[in-house]
Symmetry: C2
Subunit: 220 residues, 2 copies
């Protein structure tokens, strides 16, 4: 959201430890937060506020960054769309961690294979068909119609991650969701987003994050 | 939230079909919603608005029902707490559906046993310790301190469901979270909540909902 809005930010956990950043600095932020204690990252520090939970952070930032229209119906629609993208993200994560978030993937491979197969056959098409229908209702190019909003960013990133993790599974469903693909292409081509994606600030997808590529979970 | 606030509501899906309710009526609401189409129930119909996603519904209703203080810091805190309760609810659900939400429990019993064991040993204590710490920070009796808010209702219902589904697992952790137990007792004793719990409007926990009792998932 900061990158799309062209607003400067400080990614504390990625700043070098020698420059006062890194995991220790993040842990200090978690421990010393005024007000409600956060359970886990990510947290947003804005002035005296420390805010946890991705959905809450995005909803808080969106009007400040011009990433949601100000009328209440638009804000409500954006919240619902963001919540549904978040549900898809959760289910994508659980394909490689169906039994225990605290275990390694290698400790739950047979269960992951089952869950991933179900995800690719039923859940992913269901979510994508939903967003395709929403884009049909609004006639796009964005989820709210003509105005870019933060759920567009979330959906782009999520689809990008799923296409990374499941190139075969994504290929099977992609043809049925031309509006979703067009939205992703539009977001990706926004000048600040394109610059971000080409920079080292964008972490490449990897096998430690939410979106992972394990070929055995994505058979041809 | 309606019950706690003493505000009348119409539970469309539970109204008899002969009185224009039931699943068909709910499906018509989903299909005919103006504005953003909902993906799934629950949906709130309020005037011309149809709003899906539990977290969005609760956040929308809370100020209307007097179930959150009006200042922005309180609303942000309530949103974060509600999101964390929702994470706990999701993980509780997945104990009996770790592989595929579209399959029956009986089709994923071995995986459910593994996930439930991990949940009871690590995840449930982690979440409950978090809420216990929050209640320690605010000195209770409620999550925001002296004022009842909707995350208190969510946490009560969630703990109640977990105690139903996992009486042994709950018994092992209950002694360590006296403030959580005190909060639940306070919520349960609120006059409108007590009346609701004693009424037939409150569906008993069962093996078709989120909170289920399968003894094999909850060994002594």
């Amino acid at each position: 959201m900061f990158e799309a809005a062209g607003v400067a930010y400080d990614d504390v956990a990625r700043r070098p430890v020698a420059e006062g950043g890194g995991i220790p600095a993040m842990q200090r932020l978690l421990a010393d937060a005024p007000g409600l204690r956060p359970l886990a990252p990510p947290v947003l520090v804005h002035g005296a506020r420390v805010i946890a939970q991705s959905a809450v952070i995005c909803d808080y930032l969106a009007p400040l960054l011009g990433l949601v229209p100000e009328d209440e119906d638009s804000r409500l629609a954006a919240r619902q769309l963001a919540a549904t993208v978040a549900d898809l993200v959760n289910e994508t994560h659980d394909t490689h961690h169906p039994v225990a978030s605290g275990w390694h993937y290698e400790q739950q491979r047979p269960e992951a294979a089952k869950r991933a197969a179900h995800f690719l056959e039923f859940r992913l098409p269901k979510f994508l068909a939903y967003f395709e229908a929403v884009l049909g209702d609004t006639d796009g190019p964005f989820l709210l119609g003509e105005t870019l909003s933060y759920p567009d960013l979330s959906l782009f990133h999520t689809v990008d991650g799923i296409a990374y993790g499941f190139p075969n599974g994504w290929a099977r469903v992609a043809a049925q969701v031309p509006r979703v693909r067009a939205l992703c292409a539009q977001v990706q081509a926004l000048e600040p987003v394109a610059a971000y994606l080409a920079s080292e600030r964008r972490l490449p997808f990897n096998e430690m994050g939410i979106f992972r590529r394990y070929p055995e979970l994505d058979p041809a």
